[in-house]
């Protein structure tokens, strides 16, 4: 039995540190020999950068993939998904089927998005098709709702058009790049309030794709009643669900933090809308997560030293269609309420159990297939190896009445993929 795992982190959060300490791991500094490094996204850039990077040895594991930004930057995510769709269309895959309006039947899960200033003209064309629509502007590299605003008039984003005309050959620094997406102005409301879903997805390898979904996701509610009224477009408390924003609202409550568990959501939807549509919704949510991962898998540097726990943000519209808004590489580990702290502590615990088996010094050559017992609150979302090993092609999206979607934590898991019955 080798020595104790040596850990480093540059994110001082108790939910992390408590988990390391309870495993009896030893804290070291970056310059020493370490086995496990929970790093911020800045650090991972350094580790894998051409100039300052260094090789990781076999007994070192880090919590990010080198080019995670292919998924976690808003503009790159959209680019990769668009590319993926085109590829599937080219090879004639039934997944890329479109309806009579030219919309993808199964792969239309990201709101129409353009990069600014690069796609400005394309955007204007789209905008003019439905001039009463609202669009949301998001800076590519920021988080926590910073810098986001809504527009419903072209004049509000003149700045990007001017830049685009005059400096089409000047590369924009990443700070100024924005994406503009069609704003979902018909979100599903509960109690009259808008909410989004935060789901945690752990990826241990991209090729073959192996990912796990944390059963205990949550909904983040706005403190203010939702209104699509144009007079309230500036009121971020109405539109943005980020806790970082909401917690400054007057009505923010520190006991529940404006959060609901996903099982509450499920109970509410089943009770008010019925079982079938609710199961369909949750199946679709799993589908879009897996598709997004498949979209970036080919371009992802599948470094064997890496795993990653993503925070997926999903919005459900009033037709019960889920939309992927973004994927976060560094989901917040700050706890806003007591329940939150427990949830995040358990999240890290279960993540570590899967990423660092038995809590022992890792060997990155292992097969990354943990036994069922260590999954904790994770469920297998998609396991490419198992799915392919099943032999005959399965039906595309078989939704038999017996489809075992997660039902508040239920899973008829016999070690095979259960949440997906399609490949």
């Amino acid at each position: 039995m080798a020595g104790k795992v040596k850990w480093v982190t540059d994110i001082e959060k108790s939910v992390l540190i408590n988990n390391f300490e309870k495993r009896g791991w030893v804290q070291v500094t970056e310059s020493e020999d370490w086995n496990f490094y929970w790093m911020s996204v800045q650090t991972i850039r350094n580790v894998f950068s051409v100039e300052t990077g260094y090789r990781l040895s076999d007994d070192q594991i880090v919590n990010h993939f080198p080019n995670h930004y292919e998924l976690t930057r808003k503009d790159l995510m959209v680019k990769n998904i668009k590319r993926y769709r085109k590829e599937l269309e080219k090879e004639g895959s039934p997944l890329a089927e479109k309806d009579e309006n030219g919309k993808y039947l199964y792969l239309d899960f990201v709101p129409v998005t353009y990069m600014l200033p690069a796609d400005y003209n394309l955007f204007v064309e789209e905008f003019r098709k439905s001039p009463s629509s609202t669009w949301i502007m998001k800076p590519c590299g920021k988080a926590q709702g910073k810098g986001i605003f809504l527009i419903n008039k072209l004049s509000q984003i003149k700045k990007w058009s001017r830049d685009s005309k005059t400096s089409s050959f000047v590369s924009q620094s990443t700070k100024e790049a924005y994406v503009i997406s069609l704003y979902i102005n018909n979100p599903l409301l509960i109690g009259g309030r808008k909410f989004d879903l935060r789901l945690y997805v752990l990826v241990s390898t991209y090729r073959p794709l192996r990912c796990y979904m944390y059963k205990l996701g949550f909904c983040r509610f706005c403190t203010v009643k939702y209104t699509p009224s144009t007079s309230e477009l500036d009121n971020m408390f109405v539109h943005l669900t980020n806790v970082a924003i909401q917690k400054h609202g007057e009505d923010y409550n520190h006991i529940h933090g404006g959060k609901w568990t996903v099982s509450n959501l499920r109970l509410y939807l089943e009770s008010t809308r019925g079982r079938e549509v609710t199961s369909k919704l949750f199946d679709e949510i799993h589908w879009i997560i897996v598709q997004s991962l498949k979209a970036v898998a080919p371009v992802m540097n599948n470094d064997k030293h890496c795993f990653e726990c993503y925070g997926y943000d999903i919005i459900i519209d009033d037709k019960l269609k889920p939309w992927l808004i973004e994927v976060n590489a560094s989901p917040s580990l700050t706890s806003s309420t007591a329940n939150d702290r427990i949830l995040k502590y358990n999240l890290i615990n279960d993540t570590l159990n899967i990423a660092v088996p038995n809590g022992e010094i890792p060997d990155c050559k292992w097969n990354k297939a943990p036994p069922k017992e260590v999954l904790g609150n994770y469920e297998i979302l998609y396991d490419e190896e198992l799915a392919q090993g099943d032999g005959a092609d399965r039906e595309l999206r078989s939704r038999s009445g017996q489809t075992p979607g997660p039902k508040g934590g239920r899973s008829r898991d016999t070690g095979r993929t259960v949440l997906t019955t399609w490949k």
Binding site: I190, G191, G192, R193, F221, V224, K225, D251, N253, I255, H256, G258, K259, W260, T261, S263, N264, L267, Y268, E270, S271, T272, G274, R275, T278, N339, Q402, G408, G409, R410, S411, R412
Partner: protein, 557 residues
């Protein structure tokens, strides 16, 4: 329904035809005649009630309209119309209405019994309820005077407009509520119950193993476990239950699928009685909203929406002191609850309208409580100037809004939510905060709880009593709120399924005892009331049905 009217009065069965008849026959015949006369009384009462209802008017209209139909012939008019009603589903609606009345109204005791007896047959209970009401009213009036706020006032037009605009988000209103206190909290009520005594009952000074060691000291009859097993037979170990047999380890083919299928059939038949029987094994989530509506005999007609809108108008036009009490209660309880905070605004919409709903006054016929009376200013004591305050006669207490909160998971249209809550209140919830001898009344529930604990967990009971932690002091608040806010919502709904299914609140007392039984090991180690409270502070992880099942069917009796 045929009714046979005996031509002799009760109590004098065979006086007019004296024959040597065996005593047993005579007794049995006497019973039957008594039952017959009870039945005819009951039928008369139900017919009386239904005559004033909307259903009656609809049936009449349908009957008239049916005359146009070819199958209705003059020679057999009565039979044909009856047949038509059967086929078109109107007979089923009538059946459901009758069934509803049977569930809600107590059986008539004696034709000569005064109306108070329907409210509460025991004098000392009536008196206790009366003095409790006086105290509440005094508290309300003094708050009124202290704060110089009228009990009711008409809102100025400007304020009316404002409130109308804010109707869907009253939660954002932040009136200064710091000076308002809840009129009473459950623990105040508990003290009153503890001091209840039957003046006719003297059980002697000597303690024996029969002595009741709990806080409630009135001699009401409560069931023991064998009787409860008979009563709740559908919760038995051999019978499928939602809340147990739909868990992850059990394949749905065993029970769940079939149960769902039957539920859909029950809904298709629109049969209240069948639904009530069905729901004893729990309701599938997707069917629950409809099943509850069927059992409570709520059909959402346009008239109901109009009625709700009318109540809303009343709220807009007049401001009541109890409104502030409601605000405060919601802010203190539901707004801070992990499950229900989302629905805060619905709670105002329901409770403010509820206070103004005078149809609720009807339930005081069988509630031991009476609505508080107030007099128009300057006309104190003059009956012509008496009004009920609040208009529905119900003064909310701390935690009242939690009766409504769980329903928000089922209904998202305010008027449906409102109807369901109102019906649940006049059938069940009122019993949890009025003093009566009814088996589902809070006094009986407390006694049932304590007796179960003392009989089947004597060591635990004795230990807790010794350390000054009388179990009822902890479980009282659970029962008064029907466990709302203490259990996870999905578990709470499974529990309320059974309340509806058995038309009784006794399951609350049984669950409370089962919770103590479940945590008995930890409770045996505590040495203070505070520590005992801590052990029982968090019930949100409990699974209700296994607890009930084990306690009832797997406890050594």
């Amino acid at each position: 329904m045929k009714c046979h009217r005996p031509r002799v009065g009760p109590g004098r069965p065979f006086s007019s035809c004296w024959r040597p008849v065996p005593a047993a026959w005579r007794a049995r015949a006497g019973e039957m005649l008594q039952e017959e006369s009870d039945l005819s009384l009951l039928i008369a009462q139900i017919v009386q009630k239904l005559k004033g209802s909307n259903l009656y008017a609809q049936l009449e209209r349908q009957a008239w309209a049916s005359l146009q139909r070819p199958e209705i012939r003059l020679e057999s008019l009565k039979e044909d119309i009856k047949e038509f009603f059967k086929i078109s589903g109107w007979e089923k609606k009538l059946q459901n209405a009758v069934y509803s009345e049977l569930n809600v109204y107590p059986l008539p005791s004696h034709p000569a019994a005064p109306p108070e007896h329907l409210k509460e047959p025991l004098v000392y209970m009536r008196k206790a309820q009366g003095s409790w009401e006086k105290r509440i009213l005094k508290s309300l009036n003094s708050m009124c005077t202290e704060l110089s706020i009228p009990l009711a006032r008409k809102r100025p037009v400007g304020q009316q407009k404002e409130l109308l605009n804010k109707w869907n988000e009253m939660g954002t209103d932040e009136p200064d509520l710091s000076l308002f206190r809840p009129v009473y909290a459950p623990k105040d009520f508990l003290e009153v119950l503890i001091n209840l005594r039957n003046p006719n009952y003297e059980n002697g000074d000597s303690l024996s193993f029969r002595t009741h060691l709990g806080l409630i000291q009135v001699p009401l009859k409560v069931k023991d476990i064998p009787e409860l097993k008979e009563c709740f037979v559908e919760l038995g170990l051999n019978i499928g239950q939602l809340g147990i047999d739909d868990s992850t380890q059990v394949p749905p083919e065993f029970f769940e699928n079939e149960h769902v299928r039957i539920g859909q059939k029950v809904l298709a038949e629109q049969d209240s009685a069948a639904a009530q029987q069905y729901i004893r094994q729990g309701s599938p989530t997707a069917l629950r909203a409809e099943l509850w509506a069927l059992i409570l005999n709520i059909s959402s007609q346009p008239e109901d929406l109009l009625y709700y809108e009318q109540l809303k108008t009343n709220v807009i036009q007049h401001d009541l002191l109890v409104d502030s009490l409601i605000y405060k209660d919601v802010k203190l309880t539901a707004s801070n609850d992990d499950y229900y905070f989302v629905f805060e605004d619905y709670l105002y919409q329901v409770l403010l309208c509820f206070s103004r709903d005078t149809s609720v006054l009807g339930h005081f016929a069988y509630n031991s409580a009476s609505p508080p009376k107030s007099y128009i200013r300057g006309k104190l004591g003059l009956e012509e100037y008496a009004v009920f305050y609040p208009p529905n006669g119900v003064i909310p207490f701390h935690g009242f809004s939690m009766y409504v909160a769980p329903l928000c998971f089922l209904y998202h249209e305010p008027y449906k939510l409102y109807q369901t809550f109102r019906e649940m209140y006049v059938r069940f919830f009122f019993r949890l905060h009025s003093i009566s001898s009814h088996p589902s009344g809070i006094v009986s529930l407390c006694l049932l709880f304590e007796t179960l604990l003392q009989t089947y967990l004597p060591q635990l009971f004795y230990h807790l009593r010794e350390i000054g932690a009388q179990p009822l002091r902890i479980s009282f608040k659970w029962m008064v709120r029907a466990f709302s806010g203490y259990l996870a919502t999905d578990q709470l709904l499974l529990l309320w399924d059974r309340i509806l299914g058995y038309n009784s609140l006794e399951v609350l007392a049984v669950l409370a005892a089962a919770v103590f039984a479940f945590r008995a090991v930890n409770l045996m180690e505590v040495t203070s009331l505070a520590a005992a409270e801590a052990v029982l502070a968090d019930l949100s992880t409990l699974k209700v049905m296994p607890l009930l099942q084990i306690f009832l069917f797997a406890t050594v009796t």
